[in-house]
């Protein structure tokens, strides 16, 4: 093994050597630097391999030929090798990234860079306190020197502020070191620790100064204005070094120095970290500048790591895993993002949409953003999960809330950024100049992150239980993205069929899961069929579609809460990107993500609360939660964000309406059932009929009823066809929630019937309307009209869809209504029930508006030649119609086994529904779908034949041959009665549809932004203010501590 001292020697040596070079030898200088850095990487990697392959013995390096008290010693252990390795890899890649910029500057850059790298290596390895001071200063000088190279006066100002601030901080460090020496007589950490630290008096002040100085180097909120300016001003390549490199060194330094203190720093570290995490993430919300935003995020992440450091004693054996996963995510993602920022060279995040020009860069950008936020299967997800669960086990619920709040705010601004990159306004004139050395480092870091994910997944406590096949398939799809869409579509459909076949035996005897699996898989396959109509590559669609379906299937398959949450997040992520693909869906996808994120974190907390006191992650720990009220409520609210209950519904209409034609049915007909499945799972585990959560269920019941009312009422007043359907989904999900809250056999049967029906008709309607919208290229219903002649198939599909939706016999919707009445009366929730039935009748209004405005009335000139929707839309529609017909004629085929399942299992033992052939009956009433269908069918045919006989000679006339008081219609646009069709209804009941929820969330939004915007004004930009912040910070921590 090469002695690690050579890292320092080589780096420093080459720096000096290069210093001797002339300017024109800069090429040579570059090669020499790369070689030196590569050597450093080699040494640290070899040591890391050495230690990971079982070696435990720590290498002590003695310089100056003397033992520690008399000379400085370095140490190389597992931790040191790991950290030097990541820093050296970062250094090597960072240098390659900066290579061209350095060449322009001559040799200076390389020299300073090598010195910086050397300083960071020493900081990690050294065991001498004064050495720490020296090399911290060296690192600062090198950083300032690198800043100096940029010819921008803002960068110079930032550099000066940085120097002043770091100077003051290091002064305190030096004073601390001085007094440390005065009291302990040594400067060596190990020596001090081996002596009896507690016996030494007066030393606590010295250690306080040392530690607070190191903490200040880590830029705690709010004493961090100087650092933010640096992040913003510096060359992104250098910012990457500061954010990932220097911060890594500093945090390891803190880790190393913490044992010095006899005081318990943990609460202070936790507090400092959390304040930094939450505070700087809140301030990030108001940021528009990309680099500065990354700075805020960086600081937030470091704060998070500080918290974890503070929690180290409590986390025990899990500490290393948690810390590592968070650290590695931050390290890779932040460096990668800064590097991408350097390629983009845009300040305002709005202008980042230029990234879309390069799909690789776009992919990496998304990858890093998601890594930062901690979505599965990215590394930090595992760490966060572990951390929250450990905290829950130790009842640190406040901490959980704070951490998740911080993560939420971080997710907020990162997703907004992501959205703007994906869908923001196109930059015309700018094109991306991409050089190989700029793109190589982020690519490598992406690969590292994938590898890290793999290892962390294996290392995590529950990771091995995950089913990773879909993930591999997603990765495969990413690699195959260059293929034409139809090949990929076939591939995905085949895969889903195979997966369904594989899955079937596993859940065959669980009707509940079987039904939802059927909805997810069958629905998925059907909606994917529509995708055949799209030509070209459809880049980036299929991986995320599969991701969504994988998530949904994961929910079904989940055996423990970790799998469940993993799948939940996967589904959210996939669907978010699918929604984001729509043309105008930027803000809607963002809203969706915010609510989903918030909901997911509530679920997270709920799971954590339930986990308390248990030792396994089994699903059924929910049934024995120690604080059932809290955990069930949180879980329910979390699921309700996905099912868009009243108050949490505002994301849904836009998201569903603006998504692509074949994505709308996916997210509406299918995805929403994910939330329903969550609720069902929760309610099942809550303990069925013996449930003691009466209040919760009662509230949920009312919530469901009100959601149904408001959703349907709002749908009535829509002019946008897809938005109308989306609001209708809100209403229908309200029914389902209401029926679920009954917690009775019939209630659940109702809910399941509704789920099946909603899947059938809403997928059908969204496919049909989506096809129409695709053809006519507008969402506005009043712009369409009279399309029945051009699109008879779509008309039939919509007709069947709305008859089912409205619950008119003989189609399947009536099954739901009938069960509903029985359930309501059995349960005794009469008024809620009446409200729900009222909303059911309101559904007629929008059903009529939908079919009338689009297919009937006056055809418009523009659409005289539109064609019927593609066959690929009609096939799934036909299948769904057949499904509806079968379910209508023989509801017993599905409802009977379901009822039996609900009755025979322990869920709901009383089964009031009995079947006699095809007739269902309860104590209250009876109903025979088959016979009704027969009677109505026969009657209808007879009457039709009769009328046809009577008016067989009828003259066919055209659109303007209508009675018009002796006049003729002016033009189709003014003759089509559609816009604001229900204005009279608005006059009567419009007060129920006031946008209170939107107003509330807008208020929350503006308050948050106001807080963020006014708080960030503490960073006045004046260097002296920053110094004052630092001094006050020290003072406050001191006063709190002593």
């Amino acid at each position: 093994m090469v002695n690690p001292i050579y890292i320092i020697a080589i780096l420093l040596g080459s720096a000096f050597l290069i210093g001797l070079f002339q300017k024109k030898e800069k090429g040579l200088a570059g090669i020499l630097s790369v070689l030196a850095l590569a050597f450093a990487v080699f040494v640290s990697v070899s040591w890391f391999i050495h230690f990971t392959s079982g070696q435990q013995e720590v290498l002590q390096i003695f310089t100056g030929g003397a033992r520690p008290p008399f000379a400085i010693n370095l140490q190389m252990g597992l931790e040191e090798s790991l950290f030097t390795m990541v820093i050296n890899v970062l250094g090597l890649l960072g240098f390659i990234y900066l290579y061209r910029d350095f060449r322009e500057e001559g040799i200076k850059g390389s020299v300073i860079f090598l010195v910086l790298m050397m300083a960071m290596n020493v900081l990690i390895m050294t065991r001498d306190i004064f050495n720490i001071f020296v090399f911290l200063e060296v690192a600062s000088i090198a950083t300032a020197g690198l800043l100096y190279l940029k010819k921008d006066f803002r960068s110079s100002a930032a550099g000066f502020k940085y120097l002043i601030a770091v100077g003051v901080i290091s002064s305190f460090l030096l004073i601390g070191i001085g007094f440390f020496y005065l009291h302990s007589g040594t400067l060596n950490i190990d020596t001090y620790l081996q002596s009896n630290p507690t016996a030494v008096k007066g030393i606590s002040m010295a250690i306080f100064l040392i530690l607070i100085a190191i903490i200040l180097e880590l830029k705690p909120f709010p004493a961090n204005g100087w650092a933010l300016d640096v992040y913003q001003a510096a060359h992104p390549g250098i910012s990457a070094m500061i954010s990932s490199g220097t911060a890594t060194a500093s945090i390891y330094l803190l880790y190393k120095l913490l044992p010095l203190s006899s005081n318990d720093w943990t609460p202070y570290l936790i507090a400092i970290g959390l304040i930094t995490f939450v505070g700087s993430n809140i301030l990030g919300i108001a940021q528009k500048n990309g680099n500065r935003l990354l700075g805020y995020s960086s600081i937030g992440q470091i704060g998070f790591m500080l918290t974890i450091l503070g929690l180290a004693p409590r986390l025990g054996e899990h500490f290393h895993f948690i810390f590592l996963s968070i650290f590695i995510s931050h390290f890779l993602a932040k460096a990668g993002l800064f590097w991408i920022s350097g390629i983009v060279q845009k300040q305002n995040i709005k202008e980042w949409s230029v990234l879309r020009k390069n799909s690789l860069l776009l992919f990496m950008f998304g990858f890093f953003i998601l890594t930062l936020i901690g979505f599965p299967p990215f590394p930090s997800f595992y760490g966060k999960w572990q951390l929250i669960m450990e905290l829950a086990q130790q009842r640190f619920f406040i901490l959980i809330v704070a951490i998740l709040a911080g993560s939420f705010f971080e997710g907020l601004y990162l997703f907004r950024w992501f959205g703007k990159v994906m869908k923001g306004e196109e930059e015309k004139e700018n094109s991306l100049v991409i050089k190989w050395e700029k793109i190589l480092p982020p690519v490598l870091f992406t690969i590292f992150a994938v590898i890290a994910s793999y290892f962390l997944n294996n290392a995590s406590e529950y990771g091995h239980s995950l089913n990773l096949i879909p993930i591999y398939f997603i990765i495969l799809l990413f690699l195959l993205d260059f293929l034409p869409a139809w090949i990929k579509n076939s591939l995905v459909i085949t895969a889903m069929v195979i997966y369904s076949v594989r899955l079937y035996p596993l859940i065959a005897d669980d009707s509940l899961r079987l039904i939802f699996a059927g909805i997810f898989m069958l629905g998925g396959i059907l909606t994917l069929f529509a995708g055949y109509s799209i030509k070209g590559k459809r880049a980036g669609f299929f991986p995320f579609a599969v991701m969504m379906y994988a998530g949904l299937m994961g929910l079904i398959e989940a055996e423990n809460l970790f799998q469940f949450f993993f799948s939940w997040e996967l589904m959210t992520l996939g669907s978010y990107i699918l929604i984001l693909r729509g043309k105008k869906s930027l803000i809607h996808a963002f809203n969706y993500m915010l609510f989903s994120l918030g909901g997911a974190y509530l679920i997270f907390i709920g799971i954590a609360l339930s986990y308390f006191g248990h030792h396994s992650m089994d699903l059924n720990i929910l049934s024995s939660s120690t604080m059932p009220g809290w955990s069930y409520s949180l879980l329910a609210i979390g699921f309700l964000t996905k099912t868009a209950a009243l108050g949490l519904h505002i994301w849904l209409p836009g998201a569903h309406a603006e998504a692509e034609s074949d994505v709308s049915p996916m997210v509406s007909g299918i995805l929403l059932k994910g939330g329903v499945f969550g609720l069902i799972l929760l309610f099942l585990l809550m303990g069925a009929e013996q449930s003691e959560q009466h209040t919760l269920l009662y509230v949920l019941g009312w919530l469901g009823a009100l959601t149904a009312l408001v959703g349907n009422l709002l749908a009535v007043f829509q002019e946008d066809a897809k938005r109308l359907l989306a609001y209708s989904s809100v209403g229908n999900l309200g029914y389902i929630l209401f029926a679920l809250a009954f917690m009775t056999n019939v209630g659940w049967l109702t809910a399941l019937t509704y789920s099946i029906n909603h899947f059938l008709f809403k997928t059908l309607l969204f496919l049909a309307i989506g096809g129409v919208v695709m053809r006519v290229k507008t969402h506005k219903m009043y712009e369409m009209g009279g399309l029945i002649k051009q699109m008879p198939w779509s008309f039939i599909a919509v007709l069947i869809g709305i008859i089912t939706l409205a619950g008119i016999p003989p189609l399947a919707g009536y099954a739901g209504k009938w069960l509903f009445y029985n359930a309501v009366i059995t349960k005794g929730w009469y008024f809620q029930g009446a409200l729900v039935f009222f909303s059911g009748t309101i559904a007629f209004l929008y059903c009529f508006k939908l079919i009338y405005s689009i297919f009937l009335g006056q055809p418009k000139d523009k659409f005289r030649k539109v064609k019927e929707v593609p066959i690929w839309y009609i096939i799934p529609q036909a299948v769904l119609i057949i499904g509806i017909m079968i379910f209508s004629a023989r509801p017993d085929l599905i409802l009977k086994p379901l009822g039996n399942m609900l009755a025979q299992s322990n869920y709901f033992p009383t089964d009031p529904l009995s079947w006699e052939n095809v007739t269902a009956s309860t104590n209250l009433g009876y109903w025979s779908g088959y016979k009704i269908m027969l009677v109505i069918g026969v009657m209808f045919v007879i009457l039709l034949l009769w009328l046809m006989l009577m008016s067989r000679k009828a003259q066919k006339i055209k659109q303007f041959n209508i009675v018009y008081a002796g006049e003729r219609p002016f033009k189709p646009e003014t003759t089509h009665f559609s816009h604001n069709m229900f204005s009279h209804y608005y006059k009567a009941l419009g007060f129920l549809s006031l946008p209170l929820a939107t107003g509330f969330w807008n208020g929350v939004n503006s308050v948050t932004h106001q807080v963020a915007d006014s708080t960030r004004r503490i960073y006045t930009g004046n260097g002296q203010t920053y110094i004052i912040h630092i001094l006050i910070y020290i003072l406050i921590v001191y006063m709190l501590m002593f």
């Binding site: 009938w818 009529f848 508006k849 006056q858 009704i932 009457l943 003259q955 066919k956 209508i962 089509h976």
Partner: protein, 303 residues
Amino acid sequence: MNIFLKILFVLLGLFIVLNWGLIMSGIIRKIIARVGMRRGIKVYQPYINLIKNYSLRSQLTHGVMFYLGPVFRLSGGVGIFLFMPLIYGSEYWSNFSFTGDLILIAYFMFFGMLGMALGAGEGGHPYSGIGVARGLAQFTAVEVPFTLAIIALAIQYKTLSISEIVAAQQGGIMHWTLFTNPLATIAAMLSFLGAMGHSPFNVVMAPQENPIGPPTEYHGTFLGVLQTNRAILHVVEAVLYMNLFFGGAGNWGVLILKSFLIYFWAVFVGMVFPRFRVDQSIPWLLKIPLVSGILAIVLLMIK
């Protein structure tokens, strides 16, 4: 029972109901005329109108759905008839009520409405759309008190089967829902006003300002079908209310008398009150009828 015999009785019942519907509307028109000190139409005038409409020589059609609209409408009317038990205790006159209960009828009413709305919609006339929009809007409010009344009945009789509800009301006039549950009856009978579409709830048709509402474009045979349906539907709806609130009927005579009186209630109110706009009728229906429906349920819950 033999299915053919059943069908025979169903057709016979349909015939009786259709004729009674036509005659009833003639009688009602006659009464209205006499109240207005007029001689009024001939009692058999509805028959003449029907014959005339069926015998028009030319017909127009706007398209398939225009054609299907009246079929849907008539299917709706006949369907409700088919699912309705007519005479209490008679297996012959209970039609196909074994296929479904009260809820089936309540929801099957929409079948005809929807078909009519679509047929009128294909006519392409804006007034049709306006009429349908008004009609549907008003109907949502009509349904609320009716739903509450149904729930009240279901609580009271612990069944949703119409036959059983009728059975529970046998044994004297004081057993009628009218007296055992007056509040529910009030709610239902007030919503009946809205369902019948007489003044003050006739803005849907609005014969003066929107020529005749949804059926603006319908004529000849189509109109004949609609009139046939109307004759059947008025009787059948009255029979529904009769079964639910007025003790049902033990024979055809009682059925005819009761259905006439119930239908006359709507006509009577219509004679006295002027027309509501939709935005007035909805709040009205959501005041007294709604409150009495809620009170009916509350009282039952307290018991």
